[in-house]
Amino acid sequence: MKITRITLWQLDLPLSEPYWLSGGRLKFERLDSTFVRIDTDEGVSGWGEGCPWGHTYLPAHGPGIRAGIETLAPALIGQDPRSLDHINRVMDVALPGHPYVKSPVDMACWDILGKVAGLPVWQLMGGGSATPVAVNSSISTGTPEEMLALIGQAAAKGYTVHSAKVGGTDIALDIERIEAISTGLPKGHKVTFDVNRAWQPATAIEVLNSVSARDWVEQPCETLEQCAHVAGRVQNPIMLDECLHGVQDHLEAWKRGACEGVKVKPNRVGGLTRARQIRDFGVSVGWQMHIEDVGGSALADTAAIHLAASTPDANRLASWLCHYHLDVDPVPGQGARNIDGFAIPPTAPGLGVVPNLEHLGDPVASYD
């Protein structure tokens, strides 16, 4: 089987609510998503999606995905899409780095492998059943009252796990937010305080040693070194996200004792193949993981839910679904959806999501 054509579509995905990242970074109102279809000489096609969370969050932006795939395409045409590790090696030689460019290509190849094998991706990833995965909310930063109100609204929709964004310039307000949310959380619910790199190490130590909350704290500072420094001086379990890119970074984080868990996001690490490798490492060292994508429609969400569902319960916390925060649904009703706080991966072969061409408009590029 050979790849014969790679076709790209660009979609604007408007968010239902504008989103503010911590640290005074820009707010944004829409996401720039790229849908990728890979066609083969045997008539089987696979779909992937790459959708950065704006352009201020990670070293990734929508136009960069399309420019990168243009550079990768000549190396990919003619390759066997079922040979996932080989496909990744080909991409790594053709274009070092740029994991966000490679993720949608890798995703489409997993879709093809699943369709050819007649198996859902969760089973190819080692899963025993289409396990329902807890979905977690994303609570924008604000006053403690505003944030608790948002948690209440999320709870009414069935969410039991919440990711609350903290990390402003006012240390006292962060302390107040964390204490109020930790004590005011509905019974049985869990929260992670996501700092998105906003704190200096001393700020993190000051805040976390001032609160009685012992909930998870995510990515307190910019670098792995800073986070490791903080992890050794606070009581909270630490989850790392943005400072981890390659497999090597995860080994380094473990060696330094910098965290008790990580976020596994295919688009950040370069696709499902790399994400699975990192997940497997996490399982072997006892990490607890949030497995979800950086952004996108139910297509990208579903790919991540396949990986999450195939992860042992003890090592899986929850998954955020980006499509739930969008005003549009380019794959109507398909894939893993939030039903009473849980998402179940499809059991159809491959990813189990097939975009309808009428919803995508005209392709922006095609390589063959």
């Binding site: 352009h55 136009p63 550079t71 070092p96 740029h98 670098t223």
Partner: protein, 367 residues
Amino acid sequence: MKIKRISLWSAPLTSHETYYMASGKTCDVTITTVIRLDTDTGLSGWGEVCPIPHYLEAYAGGVAPAVEELAPVLLGADPVGPEAVMERLHAHLPGHRYAKSAIDTALWDLTGKAADLPLYALLGGRQVADMPLYHSITCVAPDEMARMAREAQAQGMTQFQVKLGAEGDWQADVARLVQVREAVGDGPLVYGDWNCGSDALTATRVGRAVAHLDVMLEQPCRTIEECAHVRAASGLAMKLDESAHDINSLLAGHAQGCMDAAALKLSKMGGLSAMRVCRDLCLTLGTQMCIEDTWGSDITMTAGLHLAASTPRRGVMNTCDLSHYVGPRLAPDAPTRRTGRIAPPEGAGLGITVDEAVLGAPIAVFD
């Protein structure tokens, strides 16, 4: 002063001698991207970035989309004081250092022109009159490489980078180091560079086979840990390149004891603003520096020369005259090598005149 227009050009640079590195990497023809920032005062600043395909996390096609993403921040900004502008660019689009390096060079060019001072004066003041160049020898047959070394030595070159690993034959790599060392005689600096293309075992075998010679090894393997292993097992001094790209990786290389020397490259570090900080750290650590860019022509080469000339002699190992290796020249009045050495120009900013006729029509204009 405000930036009112951003123009981008794309131009092919052809190597005078096709250049082979480990793992099949070459730079026969590369695409360089040139940027010009125009301001409301009539002053313009120039920058350039030219990634080598498959070499670092950078590619020619990624430059224009990144500049377009950054254009809203640049347009209307005051270019004087590049670090402040760069900070805003980093917040707008993290990463993509290579694309930002071209912008950063243009900001420095404008700042220098506004101050009517050459860049070396703004980057720390003139510390050396000129700098030694190294000559990079493409990975071909050992005797052919020895011949190239002798030729370059006859023109005054005293430092030789011997590319290794093109065909994965470790004994050929030993022969390359032995023959080049012998060809140039005692004294000149000779170092063998794998560009990450080796495993630790093979590099250790090569290193131990030449451990009786005065040679240094450069970036044999991909990670700092592996390079440190080769450094310890071979006992030979080591230069880091690909794995040393920012403050944290320089600190890691130093901590692992495998960074006798380091390559500071504008597109790898993200421009003069970021590289100046790395330069200052290397001075503190005692690391010998090669101050240059990955590839390219006169514009980015000259930017590197200004930073090198403002670095104290104790830290400058060498620099590279990139535009000697490729054609066409983008700024014919840019400096050239003289008896193995080179110096930055004296004019304001970069101090060079870009030949716009060579560039043709812009590929993109943002205003």
